[in-house]
Amino acid sequence: MNGVNEVNGVKGKVRTGAMDNDRIDRIIDKYQGKPSSVIQLLMEIQHENHWLAREVLVKVSKRLEVPLSEVLHIVTFYKTFSLIPKGRHEIHVCTGTSCHARGGQRVLDRVQDLIGIKPGETSSDLKFSLEAGNCCSLGPEIVIDGKHHGRIEPDKVEDVLKDYH
């Protein structure tokens, strides 16, 4: 069947963590099950659910008739996809050229000190996930759940983070 394997004997209703079958089906239906929409569709699920469980990938693979190996190729290739659960709040610290020149690293250090995780990690209480990368024009900057906090100083970080629960 198009190279799709049953994983862990999962059939029919799948376990998807926070996301139920209906919602996944709705997203797949929206793209009319077109194989070429696999990236868009996975991204939408990622945005809603913050991660992609294996069962979700199997389901997408089956419904779109795209081999699971190809789905895995895509989700491991793009950085946006996460195969492990992410925290409720996504913190993005800009370490691009401009922020690098303006002390972005010190901001990142401060964030790491405060929440105790490194870029790419999620805190054990699933409160925060931390990423570092390029995002802005006016650094140093941190972005939390899409909200920009620009011109930030290391000693202001604590104030910003305390608003997120």
């Binding site: 077109k34 194989p35 070429s36 929409s37 696999v38 990236i39 868009q40 996975l42 991204m43 795209v66 190809e70 190729h73 895509i74 290739f77 793009y78 950085k79 946006t80 996809f81 691009g96 050229t97 401009s98 690098h100 020149a101 390029n134 995002c135 802005c136 024009s137 006016l138 900057e141 899409g146 920009h148 906090h149 620009g150 011109r151």
Partner: protein, 553 residues
């Protein structure tokens, strides 16, 4: 809004819009670009809305959340029309005063006006601020005059008249000829003549052809495309439709960033409105020309901005580049002719069609025509999006527009072209902004990210920073790129940690040569850019690092 069915109806609609607009009606334009959102322009916008309500001015004062004005350094930026009074670093607390004093009282609030840090001179209007004075803002200048969510605003400024002209007064060949004569060169990195690319796609065999907007802008330190696309999406869309007409394409794709909700929304709204007005879809403006657009989003990897990788991504596959023995303009998406241009390139098209190639070629240098958007960042007083005529010297950009280097430091180098670009020393600052002149120096313009570095910068560290970025972004398909960059990074890291050895420089040069010759796509081919340019201009720094076992401070 009914569909527009002819050129005459478009003109009538525009006339109607203008007659309803009172040029003397006050309007508060608040920048909602990314640079201004950081320091809180969204709160400033809500404060203005509350204040306008409080003074019972609803309907008497227009509010506009606009795209990026350019001067990110002084954000949040606010412009009060019709006087065009420009306020910088506006805070929520300032809003009541602005409404009562300036909007109602027509008085200028001195403390909110831009003050030149060098001369102490104040500038009330945008055009008087030194940052804007030397610019030629043909593409980005309309950002503060329109609401990106309003097609009417774009139409009122003459929008879509170029499309109407192309469809009704010109043949596709004439449009193509105009772009060729204008010598419009691609703004995405390579500087390849857009007209020639269009011609290749037009002449390539096959019924179905595609046109694509590359709005990926993945390189660190580049933020001008999103400023333009978010702030004035119709200017890009209009260019795309004109290009599709010239090439004979009926389907187009916009490939852009997933991580800016604002950008995504503004594009979606622009497409929906254009379709509603009959500027997109079947029988555009009643001309018989059909064209549809689909939006695809990058999901976070730099290499998907490379043309062949981008096209794979649109097909729903992992974005790995392919060798380009056959150009994508001949065989691209689903092996059909696919013409890809960058956001800024497309945005240049409407003005060339409206004003003609002769007007366009008067701007710029012999080989590089028109204006260029630059993202100015790094150790510079005025960070922001800059638009200058080609041929402007780097010195003018750094000192006259950029306001020089902060904290009394000296300029050391300027880096162009992002992670695969190059750095040139301060001694070459009189070089003009020109595709060929800069490429010759090893610092190609690229997409237009200009990164300024002061005297404290360690150039080995700069090269290491970019290669660290590239090693994470290499798709891994070809060995010279995947392994080559990794080995270069290893050596650079050792040198910058004070563990460099004799012979490291020669080994680096050899790796650069092999990766450059044998890699599949531009990422691997030009990954050596930062290393070669810093080795070329700052070799003694590498040598000193190795000799003295210098460690970073």
């Amino acid at each position: 809004m009914p569909r527009i069915n002819s050129a005459t109806e478009l003109q009538a609609l525009r006339k109607g819009l203008l007659s309803k607009r009172d040029p003397n009606k006050p309007c508060v334009a608040v920048c909602a670009g990314t640079g201004c959102l950081g320091p809180g322009s969204d709160n400033v916008i809500s404060a203005f809305e509350r204040e306008v309500e409080k003074h019972a001015l609803k309907g008497k004062v227009d509010m506009r959340a606009t795209g990026c004005h350019g001067f990110c350094e002084t954000g949040p930026n606010v412009v009060i029309y019709p006087e065009e009074i420009c306020y910088t670093r506006v805070r929520v607390e300032d809003v009541p005063e602005i409404v009562s004093q300036t909007v109602i009282g027509k008085k200028v609030i001195d403390r909110l006006v831009y003050t030149d840090p060098h001369t102490g001179e104040k500038s009330v209007h945008q055009s008087e601020i030194p940052f804007y004075k030397k610019q030629m803002r043909h593409l980005i200048g309309n950002n503060s005059k329109i609401d990106p969510k309003s097609l009417d605003d774009y139409l009122a400024l003459g929008g879509y008249s170029a499309l109407s002209r192309a469809l009704f007064e010109m043949s596709p060949e004439q449009v193509l000829e105009e772009i060729k004569k204008a010598n419009l060169r691609g703004r995405g990195g390579g500087g390849f003549p857009a007209g020639l690319k269009w011609e290749t796609a037009r002449n390539a065999p096959g019924e179905k052809k595609y046109v694509i907007v590359n709005g990926h802008e993945g390189e660190p330190g580049a933020f001008m495309d999103r400023a333009l696309f978010t702030g004035n999406p119709h200017s890009v869309l209009e260019g795309l439709i004109i290009g599709a007409y010239a090439i004979g394409a009926h389907e187009g794709f916009i490939y852009t960033r997933h991580d800016s909700a604002q950008l995504r929304n503004n594009i979606a709204i622009a497409l929906a409105q254009a379709e509603q007005y009959g500027l997109l879809g079947e029988n555009i403006l009643g001309s018989g020309f059909n064209f549809n657009v689909e939006v695809h989003l990058d999901v976070g990897i730099f290499v998907s901005g490379e043309s062949s990788a981008l096209m794979r991504s649109i097909e729903g596959k992992a974005p790995e580049p392919r060798p380009k023995y056959i150009r994508t303009s001949v065989s691209g998406i689903w092996e059909r002719p696919s013409n890809l241009n960058n956001v800024e390139t497309w945005a240049n098209v409407p003005q060339i069609i409206s004003k003609g190639y002769a007007w366009y070629t008067r701007i710029g240098t012999e080989g590089s025509k028109g204006t260029k958007l630059i993202s100015l960042s790094g150790n510079i007083v005025n960070t922001g999006v800059v638009e200058v005529p080609m041929g402007t010297t780097l010195r003018e950009i750094v000192y006259d527009i950029g306001g020089g280097i902060p904290n009394g430091k000296k300029l050391k180098a300027v880096h162009f072209g992002g992670p695969m670009g190059g750095s040139i020393p301060a001694s070459l600052l009189d070089t003009p902004l020109d595709f060929d002149a800069l490429a010759k120096l090893g610092a190609p313009i690229g997409a237009g990210g200009m990164f300024v570095m002061d005297e404290d910068t360690n150039m080995v560290e700069v090269a290491r920073f970019f290669l660290n970025f590239l090693t994470n972004e290499s798709c891994g398909k070809c060995v010279p790129c995947r392994e080559g960059i990794r080995q270069m990074l290893k050596i650079l890291t050792q040198i910058s940690e004070g563990k460099g050895r004799e012979g490291d420089i020669e080994l680096l040069e050899e790796l650069c040569e092999v990766a450059g010759a044998a890699s599949l796509c531009a990422l691997g081919k030009t990954a050596s850019g930062p290393v070669l340019s810093t080795l070329g201009y700052f070799r003694e720094e590498y040598e000193a690092n190795i000799r003295e076992k210098k460690r970073p401070a």
